[in-house]
């Protein structure tokens, strides 16, 4: 008999609070009901639990199951009412905002940033001894930012203490104040050289709420993020959340600590990559920010592109990518000044939806650029450790770039998961698949999926339950629901890459379907083809042309199993990077051809 028969999980976002109910049914855990309600952190309610109760009430109404009694959640599940576990995540009130500091920007600075991002925070700035700013400029910056928390690192254990102490002195001189609440000291975590701990205590002990944890870079070759990440989570609960209205009450209801939303998503993705032994990229594109999570070679990374999003930050996508890069995805002519005003109006009225096909195509063009730019930032950040000595021959003794290579390898990528309004709510799933492929440009064989209702945060916190008697079943529930209910499988993208002339054969693919049918298709450079097929295994053998790689090396044939989905099997012969003709007529012709190949948009006057 299962100890956990039912689970209630909520995610308190900055605008919406979402509740899901997971139940043990027919020998497995399934998502059974979900509800949502506006978040109630801000005036006039100023109590997050009101929104939680409203969302849960919707679940109650839909399921017919009594979960609430006198404004509280009934536990445990008595068979007819209540739930066994309740967990929650939160990003309300702007999420967790941190500032990090390290001695060398590309070394301890980057490790500190990785720890903060991994814990689910927004990193407002990275201070470093070598960031080119003078002491007083750093002080002014710290004062302006008012973070929720600061992570200070620097130096290897037993090494020189001067630089990291200098950073602490700068912090002390700035005497920063926390963002929320006037009457408590700012939490500072020190995760640097252990020899400097006393000096740090002396400098910052009085003016801040100082916590000392193990060094984030005990030696150059090793990054030790766990202690800092855990401490950030603890402090998030103790300080930041405790200041937010209603959270103390909410914390008393949950069976596991409340996690920052992106931290929970990250930990779920990390867990899935580990369990399946695969490389994963997950993206969540919101109105203001785009989060990217990846696991390559077993290493987890998260980045937040704080100003790339589809409504609040839409003009910033335009500013950073340039109008031409957006317009290259639009298969018709449009007046440029009219278009920039339209995009500006989306920024100031962020809740509008595309009514016309023209508006939808433009919005999805912008999404491609937002995703592309966020992924560039992610690739630059997700690297192997910098500053690590590696053995070299005399010929490359002066070469400094051997460390710090990006871990992101598109040929290695197995699963690409998208979420966020523009991907999850696209009128046709083909559009989501196209946006993901055009922006991320997967190579070789890659499965595509979307998380349609963004359930990953709740599953992430569920997978992190630490109570001994519950944790196995809780993580089983999280993984089963992830497999069965969370992802909408779009299909698989097969993309051979390598240098070849336009229109020439890139690969010949033989597909063996489960019903015994066989199909052979040829992919030429510039082709995009779709075979509609549900989420079922298809055996493939791929024979690439000379110089072309589909995963086994140039010209090497490959045998594999791939899966269809709501879109199907997509064969992408557009070489990497995908380039579009500068001639408008040719560009529009290619775009229309690719659109038609996957039935992306309704046919009409526009396309």
């Amino acid at each position: 008999m299962k100890k956990i028969k039912s689970i209630l999980a909520t995610d308190c976002g900055s605008t919406t609070t979402k509740a899901i109910l997971i139940e043990w049914k027919d020998d497995r855990y399934r998502l059974t009901f979900r509800g949502e309600a506006p978040t109630t952190v801000e005036a006039p309610f100023e109590d997050v639990t009101k929104g939680v109760l409203n969302a849960v009430m919707e679940v109650e109404e839909l399921s017919g199951r009594k979960i609430l009694k006198e404004g509280k959640i009934i536990t445990p599940d008595s068979g007819v009412e209540g739930v066994d576990i309740y967990v929650s995540t939160s990003s309300a009130g702007g999420g967790l905002q941190m500032m990090v500091a390290g001695v060398v920007k590309s070394m301890s600075g980057e490790s500190a940033e990785r720890a903060a991002l991994g814990a689910g925070s927004i990193v407002m700035d990275v201070l470093a001894s070598n960031d080119g700013r003078l002491a007083h400029e750093k002080i002014t910056r710290i004062r302006q930012l008012r973070p929720d928390m600061i992570l200070l690192s620097g130096g290897t254990d037993g090494g020189t203490t001067t630089h990291v102490t200098e950073l602490a002195e700068i912090l002390a001189a700035a005497n920063p104040r926390p963002r929320l609440g006037q009457n408590y000291k700012l939490p500072v975590i020190y995760a640097g050289n252990n020899k400097a701990q006393d000096a740090i205590q002396e400098t910052l002990g009085e003016i801040s709420d100082l916590d000392i944890v193990d060094n984030i870079r005990p030696i150059l070759e090793k990054e030790n993020l766990e202690p800092s990440r855990d401490k950030i989570h603890d402090l998030f609960m103790e300080h930041v959340m405790a200041q937010a209205p209603g959270y103390k009450k909410l914390m008393s209801w949950t069976d596991a600590p409340i996690m920052p939303t992106p931290g929970a998503v990250g930990s779920l993705i990390e867990m899935i990559a580990k369990k399946e032994n695969i490389s994963v990229v997950g993206v969540d594109i919101g109105g203001a920010t785009t989060d990217i999570f990846s696991v390559f070679q077993g290493k987890f990374n998260r980045t937040v592109s704080a100003n790339l999003g589809m409504s609040y930050s839409i003009c910033n996508v335009l500013a950073e990518s340039g109008l031409d890069n957006v317009l290259r995805w639009v298969p018709f002519d449009i007046d440029r000044s009219e278009l920039t005003n339209r995009i500006g109006n989306k920024m100031i009225r962020p809740t509008t939806v595309p009514q016309s096909l023209e508006e939808l195509v433009i919005e999805q063009a912008i999404a491609r650029e937002a995703l592309r730019l966020s992924f560039i930032q992610h690739k630059e950040f997700a690297t192997s450790l910098k500053g690590v000595q590696s053995e070299r021959t005399i010929s490359d003794a002066f070469e400094q770039s051997a460390s710090g290579q990006s871990l992101v390898n598109m040929m290695e990528l197995d699963l690409l998961v998208g979420s966020g309004g523009v991907l999850s709510h696209a009128p046709r799933r083909q559009q989501s698949a196209r946006m993901l492929i055009d922006a991320f440009m997967p190579e070789g064989i890659t499965q595509l999926a979307v998380d349609s209702i963004f359930m990953m945060p709740q599953l992430g916190v569920l997978a992190n339950i630490e109570k001994d008697d519950l944790k196995d079943e809780a993580s089983q529930a999280a993984l089963e629901v992830f497999d069965n209910d969370c992802l909408i499988r779009l299909g698989t993208c097969v993309a051979p890459v390598g240098s070849i002339k336009a229109g020439q054969l890139m690969a010949e693919i033989t597909l063996n379907f489960q019903d015994g049918k066989t199909e052979v298709i040829q992919i030429k450079e510039g082709d995009l083809k779709l075979i509609e097929h549900p989420y079922e295994e298809v055996k493939v053998s791929i024979k690439p042309s000379r110089g072309i790689d589909v995963g086994a090396g140039k010209g090497e044939a490959i045998e594999s199993s791939i899966y269809g989905g709501v879109v199907g099997l997509i064969f992408d012969g557009r070489n990497r990077p995908i380039t579009l003709s500068k001639t408008p007529v040719e560009r529009i012709e290619s775009l229309s051809k690719w659109s038609n190949a996957v039935d992306e948009y309704p046919k009409g006057d526009l396309l």
């Binding site: 006039p44 007083h136 001067t162 003009c315 910033n316 016309s356 939808l360």
Partner: protein, 380 residues
């Protein structure tokens, strides 16, 4: 009757306007509850900690950090003047001494043995907060600031730049469909808040800045012209700190869009009267809209509530379309079907049936519009 919640911007003829004026750090409140204040009355003040100069004494004297204390001529807490001796080496037989002088007037805040640095803190920077609008002090927040109230006409814009300004209102156009042209901006408008109809060109706005006009209130502005004003592309709508002589408050959106009749006629009523404006905008959670506040007499009858939640759209409501392809057009709601409708984009949404009003160039027509793309035009 079916109705739907669609936020609109506030255009209130008379309301009890409330404003918090809070110091960035704790300080002193200079007024009492019940005091009458003008926009220029200083209501609270404080001292921000002064700038910090960090002297790397060990480097400057070429000695080890732990030896710094032996060379110091000052101790923590000492007041120093610019040029005062901070540290000096003994030299050789009293000769060839090296020394460090204070680069500023200030106080010695700290001396570090570990890093050899001496921190000199400059004098505190005084900060004062004024009342911003004419009114009465309603509440004192001890050591932090005040809340004031004012009977006022209150208008919100959709987007603005530059912070708080004040001046007399001057209407420049005769109807809300007219644009403010460069010729209309003249030297006698210095310090005034000028009101136009549908649009102001970049050239006209720049001229206003040069002539130190206090504010421009207008229906529309071109998004791409913002770069020429700000010097950078505006990526997110978080503004208010721009250092510009002239605040810009856009009431309708980007492009050329006639100012709503309600806004225009209310501003017309107070032509020549003092107003306070603020271009600060934040379109995120905790939204801040640019505002125009016109203080009125103290008669507090017929006040409408500034915090009142906007009413939902009902059959017969006057609405504005806020997204292409019908952007900016006004219409009345003829019905609110409850079922989802498929738009041309194939998006499934809840819609409203709208009878779009005739304009100069477009005829009256009945059309389905997603409810999310409508904004209530509040008539009071």
């Amino acid at each position: 009757m079916a109705h739907s919640y669609t936020p609109g911007l506030k255009v209130l003829k008379k309301t009890l306007f409330k404003k918090e004026r809070i110091l960035p750090l704790k300080g002193k409140v200079l007024v009492k509850k019940g005091d009458k204040v003008t926009p220029d009355t200083i209501v609270a003040s404080t001292n921000l900690p002064g700038n910090v100069q960090m002297l790397k004494v060990n480097n400057l004297l070429n000695i080890e950090p732990q030896d710094v204390k032996n060379c110091l001529k000052v101790k923590e807490g000492d007041v120093v003047k610019k040029g005062d001796l901070v540290a000096e080496t003994a030299g050789i037989f009293g000769m060839f001494k090296s020394s460090v002088e204070s680069p500023v007037d200030g106080t010695i805040e700290s001396i570090s043995d570990t890093t050899g640095r001496v921190v000199v803190r400059e004098a505190p920077v005084p900060v004062e907060i004024d009342a911003y609008v004419q009114g009465q002090i309603e509440e004192i927040i001890s050591e932090e600031g005040i809340v004031l109230t004012s009977n006022a006409a209150f208008i919100q814009g959709i987007f603005g730049i530059a912070g708080e300004k004040r001046g007399k209102i001057k209407i420049l156009v005769s109807n809300p469909e007219d644009e403010i042209t460069e010729e209309m901006i003249s030297a006698d408008l210095k310090g005034k808040i000028v009101v136009g109809g549908s649009f102001i060109s970049l050239a006209a706005y720049k001229k206003a800045i040069n002539l130190k006009v206090a504010g421009v209130v207008v229906g529309g502005f071109n998004y791409f012209d913002l770069k020429a004003v700000l010097g950078y592309n505006l990526g997110v709508a978080i503004t208010g700190t721009e250092d510009l002589a002239t605040a810009l408050i856009v009431t309708e959106g980007y492009g050329s869009i006639p100012m709503s009749n309600a806004t225009f006629s209310l501003l017309q009523t107070y032509d020549g009267q003092e107003a306070s404006v603020n271009g600060a905008t934040q379109i995120r959670a905790g939204v801040i809209r640019p505002e125009i506040v016109i203080p009125l007499s103290e008669d507090s009858s017929n006040l409408s509530d500034v915090n009142k939640e906007p009413e939902g759209i009902k059959e017969g409501s006057l609405v504005r379309v806020i997204r292409a392809p019908y952007f900016g057009r006004l219409g009345t709601v003829s019905s609110l079907p409850s079922e989802l409708h498929k738009m041309e984009s194939e998006t499934m949404v809840r819609v409203a049936n709208i009878l779009l009003k005739k304009t100069k160039d477009l005829k009256e027509e009945e059309i389905l519009i997603p409810r999310a793309n409508l904004e209530m035009v509040e008539l009071e």
